[in-house]
Point group: C2
Chain length 255, copies 2
Amino acid sequence: HPRLLAVANQKGGVGKTTTAVNLATALCAVGQKVLLVDLDSQGNASTGLGVRRSEIQKSTYDVLFDEANVEDVAVKTKVPRLSVVPSSLHLAGAEIELVTADDREYKLKKALRKPLPYDYVIIDCPPSLSLLTLNAFVAVDSIVVPLQCEFYALEGLSHLVKTIERVQRSFNPDLDIHGVVLTMYDQRNNLSGAVAADVRKHFGDKVYKTVIPRNVRLSEAPSYGLPAIVYDMKCPGAQAYIHLAGEVIRRERDI
Amino acid sequence: HPRLLAVANQKGGVGKTTTAVNLATALCAVGQKVLLVDLDSQGNASTGLGVRRSEIQKSTYDVLFDEANVEDVAVKTKVPRLSVVPSSLHLAGAEIELVTADDREYKLKKALRKPLPYDYVIIDCPPSLSLLTLNAFVAVDSIVVPLQCEFYALEGLSHLVKTIERVQRSFNPDLDIHGVVLTMYDQRNNLSGAVAADVRKHFGDKVYKTVIPRNVRLSEAPSYGLPAIVYDMKCPGAQAYIHLAGEVIRRERDI
Ligand SMILES: Nc1ncnc2c1ncn2[C@@H]1O[C@H](COP(=O)(O)OP(=O)(O)OP(=O)(O)O)[C@@H](O)[C@H]1O
Ligand SMILES: Nc1ncnc2c1ncn2[C@@H]1O[C@H](COP(=O)(O)OP(=O)(O)OP(=O)(O)O)[C@@H](O)[C@H]1O
Ligand SMILES: [Mg+2]
Ligand SMILES: [Mg+2]
């Protein structure tokens, strides 16, 4: 059985997709087999790994609603040992369809909680705490929370934590926060430092030691359909994600 | 009857709240009376205008579901002539409640399409094309689309345009895109320039001439509960929003 991780935060633009794509790639670089599930109808994780929307047959939508087998939907990427379940625009209608569906919170769990030929499954979540993200929280072991070092990003944290606690009580007692990763840290401005200090005060050791710096190479890589680790391995952003993968694996060993 | 504008883009973190708050403030600075409606359960626009979540009695949720009068829910801000309908965490459950509600797409329109003592009503939308954002599209005259100068942000544009066209056909024939505003433009990197050129190619004159630069003062201001225009009027970010307000008003005159 693979370890299941969700990358989630309802605040928009905090680096969820960038973290999911580069963390998955870094885990593959050290020999792990990884499946990335794109649960966002925007499809950024699929594009960031070079999957063209026009070429895909089936998507995450089919896994949720037509009980398509994850193995049949997953496509290989240019990264060795990394496959992706691509998303499609269909997924945009999924929120509404889920409301009245049977077992609406368990659909993703049913599709992923089975013997799969991967060490990790990583789910990239959309910017909301809706039924799609809830499906991810019910299905996974643990959540990686990217947090942009900005004031507005702090606001949503308590709501995210309360939602996780609610899911623990009603659907998935073993769910926990794997860690909080500080993203887009800019040492030239004081705001980043102030936010980072505040987050470490509230979350203590849950905050990974690795901090992801603001680095334009991270935002250039998706236009080539490549993770930053492949596009420019030596850049500060890629190096930070490689360190983060090391920290994630060390924490996994301790679990 | 006020003019109704929605600030929307399903991509997260592109500057919707920052644009809604600072555009509203700049319009007030030139004598307009403005109501800002916070339609995002994160409540960033409310916080950005100094409204404390713990102090509010009623919120956007009550306007949508309990048919509370907008005038009774609006609270004054530190900015003269600017009031805000604050959001609350209640709104997070609104998506699900709307699915099975009567007139689910028209709730906001019913609350806002009436004689109100404002020149403009500006709605800050959440990062999704769900029923809340659909409510805004059905209610308003026009949409301001903030677009971050990044590759991933381009991906969602065609989906946003298709959704607007669908709303025009089924619910609101007069709806149009007021304009596209380029945000977080960083002249130090080529990506911003490349994205800006691409957007101007597709959207032509719809793209405002004013470009909002990346400016840390814009992200510091919310931690003081102030719009950047009040926090630091002379900073590049605030000046850009003042110019944008001028452009919005000139376009309004032409309409
Ligand atoms: N450390 C970084 N330095 C510079 N740019 C970054 C960094 N991390 C992410 N970006 C860029 O910032 C933007 C937002 O990141 P991303 O799309 O990964 O966030 P997200 O949380 O997945 O957004 P959404 O809420 O829309 O899903 C993207 O254009 C991305 O390329
Ligand atoms: N021009 C800018 N320069 C620097 N920082 C900015 C700029 N515009 C916005 N920001 C900051 O970037 C972050 C994202 O902006 P904002 O929250 O306004 O986006 P949003 O689209 O409303 O996000 P969401 O999708 O979560 O609603 C915020 O922390 C904000 O302070
Ligand atoms: Mg994303
Ligand atoms: Mg916002």
